[in-house]
């Protein structure tokens, strides 16, 4: 009985750390983006302020039950993804609930929040929400193929679907990282990673300029606050996942932060350098070069 409570405690701790790290990451990255664009940009702690502001709003409206519980789906998706993953390799406690399922669980569970969110957004009745979801789902199908190929290549390489074991196999120096030992799979995954993070050139889902913030259009106040919590946790969880798959995982929080920050920078650099794709363009792009790399990665493992 005690272990369960301790586990819960550590889970909460994990969530807390990752949440704050995610918010920090958001602020810093936006700052960097602004500086690259010769603007001053926000203050690095702006994300915290936004959340507090949203929770403090007095007017709260709902469009219906699905709309109301959608943030719960969304945040459950984010937290679940985080907790089903071994965050810090080698520590039993920060592996949280990773003993309940393997890589495949993560792969499919990430859609839990997406789907619930999409439903809530759709009940809002705003056409932009539905439009955003439609674009998002379409894009997901495209990069998911590359992602799957990369993951299969890695799973074949290590003959396991358990993330813990995948990380374990990469211990002992950079030379053992998957990105070095299996570069094709690494490249495929890192290309898929770009769209998974939803940054430019694959940010038409949210499309900040022309359809104000896509699926969450209708959300506000406390509900938006929940979404914002997720927006910190979910990308961070994904970063940890990619770190675990490709970059040897992390044995302590410091390594984790450095590694994930650098991984994130990859998508940030690409984002500031390349303009946005339309959905059909990004789909075609993913179904060409990344797909070929993914297929090569898999074929390479097969023969």
């Amino acid at each position: 009985m005690d272990t369960i409570w301790i586990k819960l405690l550590f889970s909460l701790l994990t969530i807390f750390i990752v949440l704050n790290y995610g918010l920090l990451l958001q602020g810093v990255v936006r700052k960097i983006g602004a500086r690259v664009g010769r603007r001053y940009g926000i203050r690095w702690y702006q994300p915290w302020i936004d959340i507090i502001k949203n929770y403090a709003k007095r007017t709260k409206i709902t469009h219906g039950i699905m709309y109301y519980i959608a943030p719960a789906f969304r945040l459950t998706g984010g937290i679940g993804l985080l907790l089903f993953m071994p965050v810090i390799y080698g520590t039993d406690m920060f592996s949280n609930f990773s003993f309940t399922g393997d890589l495949l669980l993560l792969l499919y569970f990430q859609f839990f929040g997406v789907l619930g969110m999409a439903l809530g957004a759709a009940e809002g009745g705003h056409p932009y929400s539905a439009m955003g979801v439609s674009r998002g789902l379409a894009q997901v199908t495209a990069y998911e193929l590359t992602l799957t190929l990369g993951i299969i290549a890695i799973a074949v390489q290590y003959q396991t679907l358990s993330i813990t074991e995948i990380v374990a196999a990469q211990q002992g120096g950079i030379a053992n990282w998957t990105i070095i030992t299996n570069p094709l799979a690494g490249i495929a995954l890192m290309l898929a990673f770009l769209a998974a993070m939803g940054r430019s050139p694959f940010d038409v889902v949210i499309a900040p300029q022309e359809i104000p913030i896509g699926p969450p259009t209708e959300f506000h106040s406390g509900l938006l606050g929940v979404l914002q919590l997720n927006r910190a946790i979910f990308p961070a969880a994904k970063l940890i996942l990619f770190m675990n798959l490709l970059f040897g995982g992390a044995t302590d929080w410091g390594t984790l932060i450095i590694k994930t920050f650098l991984i994130y920078m990859w998508s940030v650099f690409v984002g500031v350098a390349f303009p946005r794709f339309r959905v059909d363009q990004s789909i075609r792009w993913y179904l060409f070069i990344p797909l070929i790399i993914g297929v090569l990665a898999v074929l390479f493992m097969k023969f």
Binding site: I61, A72, T100, A130, L161
Partner: protein, 1042 residues
């Protein structure tokens, strides 16, 4: 015991006597004539029964007090008794049917009828060749007289062509006979030396001329234009005599001559028969005149029997069984159809909608049609089965192809016709009242057809074990069709339930799983039937026939029982599908694909008997020849039901247009029959290699592409039910892929997908069906916002799509997880990635479905919509409950299935530790995941509730809309062409290439048909040229000119 000579005496005597009757006593005279016919029927029937029960002995009847060959002798054996019975049956009931008409035209018509039937009786019985000629001529003259019963330019022209054609043919027969006499000194068939005598100069010619002229009388392709014109030109009641009586008699003559045939002539005979069968059915494709169409069918059927006669030496002791089954069906069915046509009297099959005003006649029409096409339980089913089996045993693959192809072509036009009758815009006029003497022959024919079907099956060494009870129960529902739905539904559920209960103790492994899907699933979907009001006529018999077939598949021990059940299921589901709206083309293509598949299965089962003993399903396990071919044929057959890519085009329309509770039956349940077949096949046969490549490897790829294309098409539909239909194609693609993996985990995945697909597709079709029920539209963009009106349906759809999409924590994830592990094990990485790609595409249509229907903007006209009826919701919630249990406790579902699979595929089984499943690569605990997810969700939800205590509900249009106010739900609901961008990117995959392909095939078939039938240019002289050309060609063929 009455000597058969009295048949002649009675018919001839009455015919003479009628000459003395005046027009005033015409009714009495007619009755007398019918009496004579009845007497003949009695005599021949008495002989038939006597000979069959062996109380009588076959008898020679001598005339003129001198022995043959100096006098004419008749012979009465079993064959003669049977054939004269058939002829006299047609004579009596054909006369009864035409009674009023004949009376109107006067006594001479009765005389002609009597002479025709007498002539045919003698033709069957006589052993003397000249006598044969004389009575053939008598019946020809009588026929020519009857043809102009309705005197008009059409019947006159047809009759004249008939006379000149039969005149020439008879002349040739006569020449043959006189030559025969010249060389043998006898006119008696029994005196003529048998054996391969065709090569003896002169004598051979004589035999050739006799045989060819008899063959010509049977209207072989292409020398049969005169026959077709008669069918079209004369009264349908007369066509009955020509098709059913004359054809029967002449076939018997041909049969009598079998001993005289040389192998080369027998081969020519079977070629001509086969060609006639295929060609006339091909030409029927373009035909719209009902009587001419029946003529084509009739000529085709007789061609088939000619083919069988030609192959007689190879068919061994099965020959008579086959020939009688095929011919008997032809006689009763064709007579019935012509008789119905005589009542309808429309010159285009599109105008036959008037028939459906009369339920009884419609049912009878269906009976005759199904019988013609060799569906169970009619005699031709068993005949065709035996024929194919025997042909396979002889290695006659091309004959099998010819027969199956011809049957298929026949099915095309007959089912098209049936579709027109059942579904085309109804005619305004009512049918004229029909007198009893027209009904009676038709009804008796149908009864005899069914009875002879049971008889044939009783005579068959294997067919007698077929369980007919479910079919009989289903048929009994026709009798109570007038009762209200509530009673019938209860009875239907009770009977299906009882059957499952009785079957249950014998069920094991896959049979248990699929029996549960078929029958328990059937009960659950039948529950929705309570939502219907009124009588719902015609639904229950057909639904139960389908379930009888499905259950029969489970019970089947032999290939015959399996095929029998398969065909039953096809019939039942066809009629269920055609009940839908706009279903004509979809039901037809469903039937054609099913039939094509069924014929592939039939051919495979036939081939499986080669070098094997018995027909138990186990023979599939020890094939020593043709194994890859059998595997492929069976796979094709089963994949027509699982709607794999290439064979899927029937599905979307058929499922989408079906009624609310029929859609789940034909989608969630029926498709599993194909999977069951595949599983049975793979268990017995394992994998097979062709050219050194594994066939299952191809099946795997096929499954992958089916899944991708099915899901992609689903995402691009506007019609909600069509979306679900395409989704079924996709999901069945996964299942096919899983089976093709041929590994423990692959099968576990496939089976669990089969089970979950049954569950979520039932709920989805019922939920969406409930929406359509209320909204009267299937277009999703016309819906929207219904969550507020139909919350229960919404929840049902929500849970179903989460399962469908395979998102944890619900049970759909199990399938995804198993597949990933299976492909890792098998090394099919590319296929695996593509399958999971297909899975992601499924998200597209899942979201589209739930968004466009339930979310977004509620339309003004739907503001008063009510929740779906209780009885439609109930089955959904029963299933949802089970789904949740399976999700939380996956081992309750997967562990038993794994145990079923282990005996066949032991390697790589899951290791269970409580609810924790371990594979070689990964692990997964459904229960803990469920707790974790629910725990997090509840925590977050409480957090939300805590922070939003004072949340206010707003109206539909209170949304943040850039600088303006939305004013119409229609313009605000983003639903139409939802994935326009996706279409732009990958739409090239969604082109209807396969539909185009099949349409092209159909187009080519029809064009060829139209081109070839131009040889029948209507000129009697051209027909004569055909006849002479035919003789020359057959001559050259038989005597080695080629």
């Amino acid at each position: 015991m009455v000597t058969p000579i009295y048949i002649i005496v009675a018919l001839l005597g009455v015919a003479f006597a009628l000459g003395f009757s005046g027009q005033k006593q015409i009714k009495a005279a007619g009755t007398l004539a019918l009496g004579a016919l009845a007497f003949s029927l009695f005599v021949s029937l008495e002989w038939l029964i006597g000979l069959y029960t062996e109380t009588y002995k076959s008898t020679q009847i001598f005339t003129a007090g001198v022995n043959p060959p100096f006098s004419i002798n008749l012979f009465m054996g079993t064959g003669e008794a049977l054939f004269t019975t058939l002829i006299n049956f047609i004579g009596l009931f054909g006369g009864l049917y035409l009674f009023n008409k004949l009376i109107k035209k006067g006594r001479s018509t009765f005389i002609a009828l009597l002479m025709l039937i007498m002539g045919l009786n003698v033709v069957v019985m006589t052993r003397d060749m000249f006598n044969l000629f004389v009575f053939l001529e008598i019946s020809s003259v009588a026929t020519a007289g009857l043809i102009i019963l309705n005197q008009n330019k059409k019947s006159l022209a047809a009759g004249f062509k008939y006379i000149i054609a039969t005149g020439i043919i008879a002349g040739i027969l006569l020449i043959g006979i006189i030559f025969m006499y010249r060389f043998t000194g006898s006119l008696n068939i029994d005196d003529i030396p048998t054996g391969n005598l065709l090569m003896i100069k002169g004598f051979g010619t004589a035999i050739f001329l006799i045989l060819t002229s008899i063959l010509l009388e049977l209207k072989p392709f292409p020398a049969n234009g005169w026959g077709l014109d008669v069918y079209q030109g004369t009264h349908a009641g007369i066509s009955v005599f020509i098709s059913a009586a004359s054809g029967t008699a002449l076939l018997y003559v041909l049969y009598k001559f079998i001993p005289l045939m040389s192998p080369s002539f027998a081969f020519a005979l079977s070629l001509v028969g086969g060609l006639t069968f295929i060609a006339s059915n091909l030409l029927g494709l373009k035909q719209t005149h009902p009587n001419r169409l029946l003529g084509y069918s009739s000529i085709g059927q007789i061609g088939l029997v000619v083919l069988v006669i030609g192959l007689a030496p190879y068919l061994g002791d099965k020959f008579e069984y086959i020939a009688i089954a095929l011919l008997g069906t032809h006689v009763f069915a064709k007579a019935g159809l012509f008789w119905i046509s005589g009542i309808i009297q429309k010159d285009n099959i599109r105008k036959w909608t008037i028939l459906r005003k009369n339920k009884l006649l419609t049912i009878l029409f269906g009976v005759f049609m199904l019988a013609l096409l060799g569906f169970p339980p009619f005699p031709s089913f068993f005949g065709k089965w035996e024929l194919i089996t025997e042909l396979a045993g002889n290695g006659f693959i091309s004959w099998m192809v010819i027969i199956l192809l011809g049957s298929f072509l026949e099915a095309v036009y007959l089912f098209r016709w049936l579709g027109y009758i059942l579904k085309l815009e109804a005619a305004k006029k009512e049918l004229q009242p029909i007198s009893w003497n027209k009904y009676l022959p038709i009804i008796i024919s149908a009864i005899l057809l069914i009875a002879s079907g049971f008889g044939m099956s009783y005579l068959h060494e294997h067919a007698k074990f077929i369980n007919y009870i479910p079919l009989i129960v289903a048929a009994a529902f026709i009798l109570i069709d007038r009762l209200p739905v509530f009673i019938k539904n209860t009875l239907a559920i009770a009977s299906v339930g009882l059957w499952y209960y009785m079957m249950y103790p014998d069920l094991e492994e896959f049979r248990l799983i699929f029996a549960t899907i078929f029958l328990v699933g059937g009960i659950i979907t039948l529950l929705a039937g309570y939502a219907y009001k009124g009588k719902r006529q015609g639904f229950y018999p057909m639904a139960l026939i389908m379930f009888a077939g499905l259950g029969g598949l489970i019970e089947a021990k032999t290939t015959l029982e399996f095929f029998f059940a398969w065909e039953l299921m096809t019939i039942g589901s066809y009629f269920l599908i055609i009940r839908g709206k706009k279903s004509i083309s979809h039901a037809l293509s469903y039937m054609l694909f099913s039939l094509g598949g069924a014929y592939a299965i039939l051919a495979a089962f036939g081939l499986a008997t080669v070098n094997n003993t018995g027909i138990s399903l186990d023979i599939l396990a020890n094939l020593n020849i043709y194994a890859p071919a059998i595997f492929i044929l069976l796979a094709i057959g089963f994949m027509t039901k699982t709607a794999s890519l290439g064979l899927h085009i029937w599905l979307p329309g058929a499922h989408a247009e079906a009624e609310t509770d029929v859609s789940p039956m034909v989608s969630a349940i029926l498709l599993k029959a194909g999977l069951f077949g595949l599983i049975v096949m793979m268990i017995k046969m394992g994998d097979q290699m062709i050219f050194g490549l594994s066939i299952s490897y191809f099946l795997g790829w096929l499954g992958v592409f089916t899944a991708i294309i099915g899901n992609l098409m689903a995402a691009l539909q506007e019609d909600a039910k069509r979306l679900l239909a395409y989704s079924s194609i996709g999901v069945l693609g996964y299942a096919l892929f899983g089976l093709a993996l041929m590994s423990h985990l692959g099968w576990l995945g496939a089976t669990s997908i089969a089970i979950t697909h049954f569950m979520f597709k039932t709920t989805l079709f019922l939920a969406i069906g409930g929406v359509v029920w209320r909204l009267k539209t299937k277009n999703m963009y016309q819906m929207g916002g219904l969550i507020k009106k139909m919350p229960f349906s919404f929840i049902s759809v929500l849970i179903s799509i989460i399962v469908l999409a395979g998102i944890p924590p619900l049970t759909g994830f199990a399938g995804k997880w198993l597949f990933f592990n299976a492909i890792m094990e098998k090394g099919w990485y590319l296929q695996g990635a593509l399958i999971s790609f297909a899975g992601v595409i499924a998200f597209l249509y899942c979201f589209r479905l739930i968004h466009s229907v339930f979310l977004g903007q509620l339309k003004d006209e739907h503001r008063n919509v009510k929740e779906a009826p209780f009885w439609i919701l109930l089955p959904q919630y029963i299933i949802l409950g089970v789904l949740i249990i399976f999700s939380a406790f996956p081992n309750s579902l997967l562990k038993p299935i794994g145990e079923f699979i282990t005996p066949y595929l032991p390697n790589g089984a899951l290791v269970w530790d409580g609810q924790m499943a371990y594979s070689l690569y990964g692990y997964w605990n459904g229960e803990l995941i469920m707790y974790a997810v629910v725990g997090i969700f509840v925590a977050v939800l409480l957090w939300i509730i805590f922070w939003n205590r004072k949340i206010k509900k707003v109206k539909q249009f209170d949304i943040v809309y850039a600088a303006e106010r939305p004013f119409l739900p229609e313009t605000t609901h983003y639903a139409y062409n939802f994935f326009a961008h996706y279409k732009k990117a990958v739409g090239i995959l969604a082109q209807p290439m396969i539909s185009n392909f099949w349409e092209g095939v159909s187009e080519i078939g029809h064009s060829v048909s139209d081109k070839i039938r131009r040889i029948y240019n209507g000129s009697g002289q051209a027909y004569l040229i055909h006849i002479i050309g035919f003789i020359v060609i057959i001559f050259l063929f038989t005597f080695g000119g080629f």
